[in-house]
Symmetry: C2
Subunit: 203 residues, 2 copies
């Protein structure tokens, strides 16, 4: 327990002070992944540096590698990289005004035609799309980018607005708008670990 805490402290101290990979201590694969998960944060402030097509492709590949119920892959991704569209989105979405400061925004949509739906239960697309969004956020962090999950679904007014603006058909449900850019350095990760959230073998 103490060993884990020390390793984690070492990782955190290192990564917050020094972003140069060449000077990084050698971390195991497991430590690299853990550090990245712990360092992911909601980034709402970006520099003007562009995000490349190759970076966007990598983010989309990460997203589509998410687990999906009965392998239905009920998702679609709309990449917004035109300034006028980013600006229009920011103007219309009160909680996502940072979108026009980001060079790119990816809209994660659930596909209601593809989703797994069991007898009597709700659709599974929102779980699948949440995992896909988290993969994208983690890969953004790993590439030195910053991103934030801003909710569309389940807010019906935002959903209708974005569907109309981007010509999204009825079978697609826009769930999250994820602006992505190089972080300006304002945000730090939160420590959300609470031992009282953990139980053993029964509540």
């Amino acid at each position: 327990m103490l060993a884990i805490a020390l390793v984690y402290l070492l990782i955190i101290c290192h990564t917050s002070d020094n972003h140069s990979e060449s000077q990084a201590p050698v971390l195991s694969h497991s430590q690299q992944v853990f550090t990245n998960i712990m360092n992911r944060k909601s980034v709402r402030h970006y520099t003007q540096q562009a995000v490349s097509k190759a970076q966007i492709d990598t983010l989309l590949r990460a997203a589509m590698a998410a687990p999906t119920a009965v392998n239905r892959q009920p998702w679609a991704f709309i990449v917004i990289d035109k300034v006028d569209v980013l600006k229009a989105l920011a103007e219309q979405l009160p909680y996502a005004k940072m979108i026009d400061k980001a060079p790119v925004c990816i809209i994660v949509c659930g596909d209601l035609n593809k989703t797994f739906k069991s007898d009597g239960a709700v659709d599974y697309w929102a779980f699948d799309c949440s995992a896909a969004t988290e993969n994208m956020l983690l890969q953004a962090e790993a590439m030195g980018l910053g991103a934030v999950w801003t909710a569309l679904y389940p807010e019906n007014d935002r959903v209708q607005l974005v569907k109309k603006m981007l010509n999204i058909p009825d079978h697609l449900m826009p769930m999250a708008a994820v602006p992505i850019g190089y972080p300006s350095g304002h945000e730090r990760p939160k420590n959300k670990y609470k031992v009282e959230n953990v139980f053993y073998n029964q509540f």
Copy 2:
């Protein structure tokens, strides 16, 4: 594009043939995280090797680092590591019979008292808990473990059964049962990338 495909191919070929970290080529932090995301798979077959308390602690820390709407952290985790409880769960859950072959199973629960809920919208706990579950699955992969997301919520019969069995109070909603163990090597990651899922600036 071609460069990305080649790097990815190299990564996949390497990791499927060679699990020894000491012989691995030096990958950047970004490549380590990407490889891990692409290598994550649903693992339903385990060896008898135990999972340590330290490993479980790391998995829970990864889970609680997930993004959560308005930072409500609406989750609780029930770690099942007693053989009789694992066996009872496997007997009761038709789609999760592999639970009694795993040394540990983590039940991810949403907390209905803590969840963010906006006017007129459904709760946000399921998004937050999905991201937490994905973090846990990715960290398991990184540590050489295998895991699989088996759904409880939104299947009401499974939810009621697990609540009763584990003495879970009304404000907690068991969403996923995640058995975890060392993979026996049966499963391979799926390639789910589809360029037709990607759109630019409008549908």
